[in-house]
Chain length 388, copies 2
């Protein structure tokens, strides 16, 4: 980048700062960069780089590294050149999962490096206030255990079941009591000075698998959060497709059209509907089927047929490169082969089908990615163009 | 745009040309623009504008308009200022529909203004060679009738059933005999010196409805090409979503999963399957149902239930703002209300549902838009950024 003529000097300084910061973040562990390195990497003048680095040290985002033994100094000056590094520990981001049975908080530094996790159990019938209390508890736990002060948080991402509006309100959620209409972002914002970003849980999981799971390197992905009623999150060209109302991927509603069995009946072996969120009961049915129980096998077949149908609808509508199946910890290995087989048979261009590699952590890790994206936009955006 | 320092002078000239051309195209009918207008509109210097306009007149894209009576002249020169206009007639684009029963060619000038249409009937069992012969015939007809020489064509867009690969080969099409595997773009390219762009018919129709049909001003749209087996084209954020394999929206395959009636049986009133492409037979069933015939009413109900299910799958996966239903000319007015009612009942966020306002011309008009987009990119793109 050359010198910019004219314009707002504070904007220019902000742009130069983010250019230098990006160059410093790009370096791995020490050795850090010298002024000469930064002049070379950024195309800025040496006085500009020196001024910008001083400013960044003041804000705490950059630190001078101690001179290393054995590293030759600048021959013109006769002493080691000063070196600087990005202070990933200068801030933190938090990813929060709010689920039916569990809430989890994952903490990371500004490069996304794991800094701790805490979980708290919740009951599926707990009201919103109790659930939020447990969320705050998990967050408090992870901050305390890791020794990170609350003020160090730059952004908090949250993954939660339901359709989430742009303002962070839950537009509709049938999974959690009292969740529909809850101004979730507003409620959590009171506990933080930083932005709180709320996202649908399947959407968050899709981001997570793309970042560090089964979808690394694949930009057209459907993540299926399997459950008695499945939901999905989609990346198109590497970006989340939320839909016009934030409702894209809510494929579980498709069964309502078919006057067929409701999802609670699909996996029932007794004729009585299973409680929709009772994962242990679901795991028992899958386990019975694995051991050859006839009624359980029949129930699992019913369930898999429905899942195949719902996933096929997503695949035919979106034509992704990859489908990642996650959600339930147990039983899912049994659905992969039928899914592949049926999609091969009926889709014109069947996608790859893989199991989630992040498992139970996908939603929280995706919420963390959301918070990290937001923070990086703040730190590294030059005139609105986010850099990654 | 200010002066660019350094760089390739021919690139700079090309950029300046497209800036001036865009300014000229932006004006409606006469009065055209003066040099002074262009200096004001583009920010370029007067000598640059004069040089660029001279070059554009040479290429035929710009013409000087005759001085108008009563328009005051440039007071410094004492004669009327010269005025220039974009020559929309300097080139043409062609939109071609290749269907089961009909092929159509729509001609337009460089602003997309209609310059003629020709259609030719084809038989649904015709082989690819015969069908392509009729396509060439329709194209010849419209060029001859409108007096536009073939060399004036800047791009040809083609809409055709099936999954179309990026290279213009038909990857899979069950609707037209001999179509699967056909290198359609290559075959047609021999007749033209300009680019030939092939697109799935439902995708083309989606572009058309967005350009000048039921989806004007709406950027998140699913266009459903109703038929015994429906297909769909989707715009997300105003851009076509083709999918990883170009197969997005091929929702008709969903019924294959359900071990239910095949589409040919849905609308049958005799127990014998309807020929899948027999539109008159389909129209007769819809007409009978309107007159209260019990078996026809039952058949239409079966058909509508299937259509509702397929459209619901698209809506749940994509969450569009608007669904446009087109395809069959007759009978579709009967499906709109059930579609709206069922989507209202079962989708979490039901979209608006409208009938196509372009009807039978949607595919050809969409193919024209495709050709026009390509031409505009060539004429107006500045360093890869398409301008519209």
């Amino acid at each position: 980048m050359g010198r910019l003529t004219g314009g707002d000097p504070s904007l220019l300084r902000r742009i130069n700062s983010s250019v230098v910061l990006r160059a410093l973040r790009g370096t791995a562990e020490p050795p850090a960069l010298t002024f000469t390195d930064l002049v070379h990497d950024t195309g800025l003048s040496r006085p500009t780089v020196e001024g910008v680095v001083d400013g960044l040290i003041e804000t705490g985002l950059v630190a001078e590294t101690p001179p290393e033994a054995g590293v030759p100094g600048d021959p013109r000056r006769g002493r080691p050149a000063r070196r600087f590094r990005f202070r990933a520990e200068a801030g933190h981001v938090l990813g929060v999962e709010i689920g039916a049975h569990r809430t989890a908080a994952v903490l990371a530094d500004l490069t996304g490096r794991d800094a701790g996790t805490a979980t708290r159990d919740v009951g599926e019938t707990d009201c919103a206030d109790v659930r939020l209390e447990q969320v705050r508890g998990a967050i408090g736990d992870v901050l305390r255990r890791s020794g990170v002060p609350r003020d160090s948080l730059r952004a908090v991402g949250v993954g939660s079941p339901g359709i989430v509006r742009a303002d962070g309100t839950v537009g509709l959620s049938t999974a959690l009591p009292g969740w529909t209409g809850l101004p979730l972002a507003d409620r959590l914002r009171r506990s933080f000075r930083c932005p709180v970003l709320v996202e649908n849980d399947a959407n968050a999981a899709a981001l997570a698998e793309h970042w560090k799971g089964a979808a690394v390197g694949t930009d057209d992905v459907v993540f299926v959060l399997a459950g008695l009623s499945p939901g999905a999150g989609s990346l198109i060209g590497g970006r989340l497709h939320r839909g016009f109302n934030g409702a894209a991927g809510e494929i579980g509603a498709l069964h309502l059209l078919g006057r067929e069995a409701r999802p609670e009946n699909l996996l029932s072996t007794t004729g009585e509907p299973l409680p929709p969120l009772d994962e242990p009961a679901v795991a028992r049915v899958f386990a019975l089927a694995r051991h050859g129980d006839a009624r359980a096998t029949e129930a699992v077949d019913r369930y898999v047929r429905r899942l195949v149908h719902d996933v096929a609808a997503l695949v035919l509508a979106l034509d992704p490169e990859l489908v990642v199946v996650g959600g339930w910890a147990s039983g899912l290995d049994g659905v992969l082969e039928p899914l592949r087989r049926e999609l091969e048979r009926h889709c014109l261009r069947p996608p790859r089908v893989e199991l989630s590699s992040l498992g139970a952590t996908a939603v929280a890790v995706g919420a963390l990615r959301l918070a990290l994206d937001h923070t990086e936009e703040q730190l590294f955006a030059v005139e609105g163009a986010a850099a990654r």
